[in-house]
């Protein structure tokens, strides 16, 4: 089950400079575990001390913020697009 993950510039130091990486998992948590097995720095960047998603990072599955889906337990399906973005304000 392949899931494409878009990596923001600021996290590419953990992915050997790759803009997008491919991972596997039935949930966002499993995907993070899979990615962290190859890119260890990603776990600390994406997860807070409590094991939940870092509040300064927005994680999207198919453009939808996972906080409003199932959080870190949001189910993933083959072909889903995951994007990670730093939180930015406007106004």
């Amino acid at each position: 089950m392949a899931i494409q993950v878009r990596v923001p510039t600021v996290l590419r130091k953990h992915t050997d400079g790759e803009k997008a990486v491919s991972g596997e998992g039935g949930t966002v948590r499993e995907l993070v575990d899979d990615l962290a097995s190859r890119y260890p720095g990603l776990r600390d960047a994406l997860l807070g001390q409590d094991g939940q998603l870092n509040r300064y990072v927005q994680t999207y599955v198919n453009d939808e913020d996972v906080r409003f889906l199932g959080g870190i337990e949001t189910p993933l399906a083959d072909g889903d697009q995951v994007s990670i973005l730093p939180a930015v304000a406007g106004g």
Partner: protein, 315 residues
Amino acid sequence: MPRAIDVSQAVGDTPLVGLPSLSPPGYSLWLKLEGLNPTGSIKDRVAKYLVESAERAGRLHPGSRIIEPTSGNTGIALAAICAPKGYKLTCVMPENTSAERRTLLAAYGVDIVFSPASEGSNGSVRLARELAGADPDLYMPFQYGNPANPRAHYETTGPEILRDLPGVAAVVSGLGTGGTLTGVGRRLKEHDPAIRVFAAEPEYGELVYGLRNLDEGFVPPVLDQAVLDSRIKVDSRRALVATRELVAREGIFAGVSTGAALAVAIRVCQPRRLPEGSQVAVISPDAGWKYLSTGAYDPGDVDTIADDLSTTLWA
């Protein structure tokens, strides 16, 4: 709107306009044209509330200087509210905002301090805090953390939507400070907890996100995530396409963040999320005038224009 005794009294009471051509089958989209406020954006409501609440708290006097971080619209709105009252204004703004925003601020006699493009709006927040902290004579309303911001929408924008669209099933708006959705969403959900609140999150090009540390990310304190039902990101290309469709098919010349909100509204009009027959209010925070120089409305290849636009802050 009857006649107003000064510009602050002309804020709000904006039209809600149907989108018969762009509404998905079985749904009705209605666009609230905040670009018809006196300085051309929804931020007139916020600026009025920020200044009036500071006056009531005794924080402002003739000759006082206000400092505020902004990507433009709030600064322009504050300038208009401050001018007749004799308050001076300094805006801290990212350098990658549209030329029109800078020109308008200059026209109002506002002092502009630029923050680095690579830090986005977060950089202007950081810099404004530093400047305000170093000078006790400066008053910083701080739209990102001031409850007067969502209160403006709770007390004016929300009730206007309920008045003009009593059967409203959902509201969609862009996320900048989060003040609009927090205030409008609270008001609408108090009226009917079944009303859905959707946020359109701008997704810029990579240059805007720069090389910042993620811990420097900024979540505005006024944003109450509990009011939101969904947060959907929209990149510059999709926002641009929807903005151009709005001009071409509905005759409405709106800014790019209106296109982002419209794209989300169209996306959520499906039976899984909203019952068929739902009426959806979409908030258009401003008109297109301030984005002409970005090329957003020029003829030409959408991909090329979107690439250019993706480095400009449009929310």
